[in-house]
Symmetry: C2
């Protein structure tokens, strides 16, 4: 049997907490024998949820934490003051090496701060980027950085490119991933000061497959596998993609029920449209990893359901088995 | 009769030049008696196109320019060296006051450079932003700046907010337009250095209706009428919107013809979907204005057809009649 992966699951903070969190954990351990989940949160509530299901009891343990960080808490304060919250208790367990990683649907800002402050950055890593997998017309791209640390330096972006490449190759399984930098034109001389300074550094970097600039127009078509950008821009791209996709789908649906004839047509075409739009659902890849830390921190959507929870738990397993942090040390830091 | 608006139309540089350019001009002058169009480009080619149509001859004049700036030219070089190009000849006409504005489907970078260098910024205006109208689920928003001058200062962004407000109120007709700044969170303390410094300045600005931060997720839902941001981010947002909209529509179409049943359904629902997606077509508002210059420079899409050309010509008329530049002088510069 392969080595056990131990994952902390923050049971609280999501829209469907703790119900969907617990179900995700149950489904995950039923599927993988080498997975162990610490469900962290209010013991009584979690027990009630677990009682609903049959599952291998030896693979799940409840760790009691009475408090909860909500979306109304300010990140730094919450991490400092809510010591009994499920998120802080869970992050400490990763820090202490009791678990390989943590999965949370809670307050993004708090998780980003907590990941860096409590779990801690690997030695030599300047910044820990948040790197969600974003669906494209042809597959998926890793958009790195979408986190909370804005105004990055060129050397930060070079590390993002390297860490992102390792992740896409060994966790997502894309050989020799193409790395591009977000720019407002295809030529090397285009861009803002940050991009102009970073571009030649990426070009000179011999452990990535740098293909140059990526225009935002081509991003939804999968112009690169690893799309490097500063966090402010990445965050805007990620949220615009989410907002526009839901907005357009809403418009299409409105059109489909605007007349009786259209409604009949909609009934016939619905299933196929759903199937193709499923390609725009990235939850099968788990959540967004916060890379470069002494343990994997995975942010799942606030409205995550059990499927996303399960896949995020598996993601920590792949991350461990593929020895991603060891590879980061080796490739980036020459250790 | 109201005062004549004189507009230069750059006949070249677009994907459908000069055919669609000329037809756009013909349709425009047929509809508006108070519009005069100088079509600038190779005389023989334009004559051949004009010969196809009936139109009031006294409202169109050809201005010969033998050369053309293409999409392969680098902007600064092209403006400097291609003195006989339709774009440069046209920009000079605006500079000399022979026309109120220019409409061009040509090389965006060259038009932005040429607008600033040849037509020139108004006294007191620090930067001339490119401000396209972007369709939203509920209407349209002005995204300002999407131009080529990146790394803006806070004072630039304040002027963008003011000019954008005037434009949206008096050209597009939205009373007391809501102004928002693109940010990665709703709170005032969020953002990068530029946004943090600009936010209180916008808040203190008494001639705009500032509503605070706009998250990219809410942009497609029309979160603000005037959406202020630095050009790099604006350009990324504009192009991502275009790319994602076309990508999603492609996916939906694929789904609609994936099976025989779906194909029948698609036939029934097609018309209504088209109607609703039309709401995502901003060409009825003309092109993207470059604001703050001594004359209006309007960038239309490279693949613009006659409808967009016509509306952009009308746009210059509205801009003139509404005395936008006088209003900018009055509100921004206190003249």
């Amino acid at each position: 049997m392969s080595e056990l992966t131990k994952v902390v699951l923050d049971a609280m903070g999501g829209d469907h907490s703790p119900g969907e969190m617990v179900l995700g954990a149950v489904n995950a351990v039923k599927e993988k024998k080498d997975l162990f989940v610490y469900i962290v949160g209010p013991e009584e509530k979690i027990k009630l949820e677990l009682a609903k299901y049959e599952y291998p009891k030896e693979q799940i343990e409840i760790v009691h934490a009475q408090d909860e960080i909500t979306c109304h808490d300010t990140p730094v304060n919450a991490i400092r003051s809510k010591k009994e919250s499920s998120m802080v208790v869970g992050l400490h367990m990763v820090k202490e090496g009791k678990a390989d990683g943590i999965v949370s649907a809670g307050n993004s800002g708090a998780l980003l701060v907590g990941g860096q402050v409590l779990v801690g950055k690997m030695k030599g890593i300047e910044r820990a980027p948040l790197a969600p997998i974003v669906p494209t017309v042809n597959g998926v791209s890793l958009l790195i950085d979408c986190g909370a640390n804005v105004d990055a330096k060129p050397s930060n972006l070079v590390q993002f490119a390297q860490m992102g490449s390792i992740y896409m190759e060994h966790v997502v399984g894309i050989k020799n991933p193409r790395v591009g930098i977000v720019n407002i034109g295809a030529e090397e001389e285009k861009g803002n000061a940050l991009v102009k300074e970073t571009f030649p550094m990426l070009k000179a970097c011999d452990n990535i497959n740098f293909i140059g600039s990526v225009e935002a127009r081509d991003f939804p078509y999968g112009a690169a596998d690893v799309v490097v950008t500063e966090a402010f821009v990445g965050n805007v791209m990620l949220k615009l993609t989410e907002g526009l996709a839901s907005g357009l789908i809403k418009k299409v649906k409105e059109g489909m029920t605007a007349t009786p004839v259209a409604t009949i047509g909609a009934a016939l075409v619905k299933k196929q449209i759903k199937n193709t739009l499923k390609a725009f659902d990235a939850t099968e890849y788990g959540g967004a990893p916060l890379l470069g830390l002494n343990g994997l921190v995975v942010k799942i959507h606030g409205n995550a359901t059990n499927k996303e929870v399960k896949n995020a738990l598996f993601q920590v397993g792949t991350f461990k088995k593929q020895k991603i942090n060891e590879k980061i040390k080796q490739y980036l830091l020459g250790e």
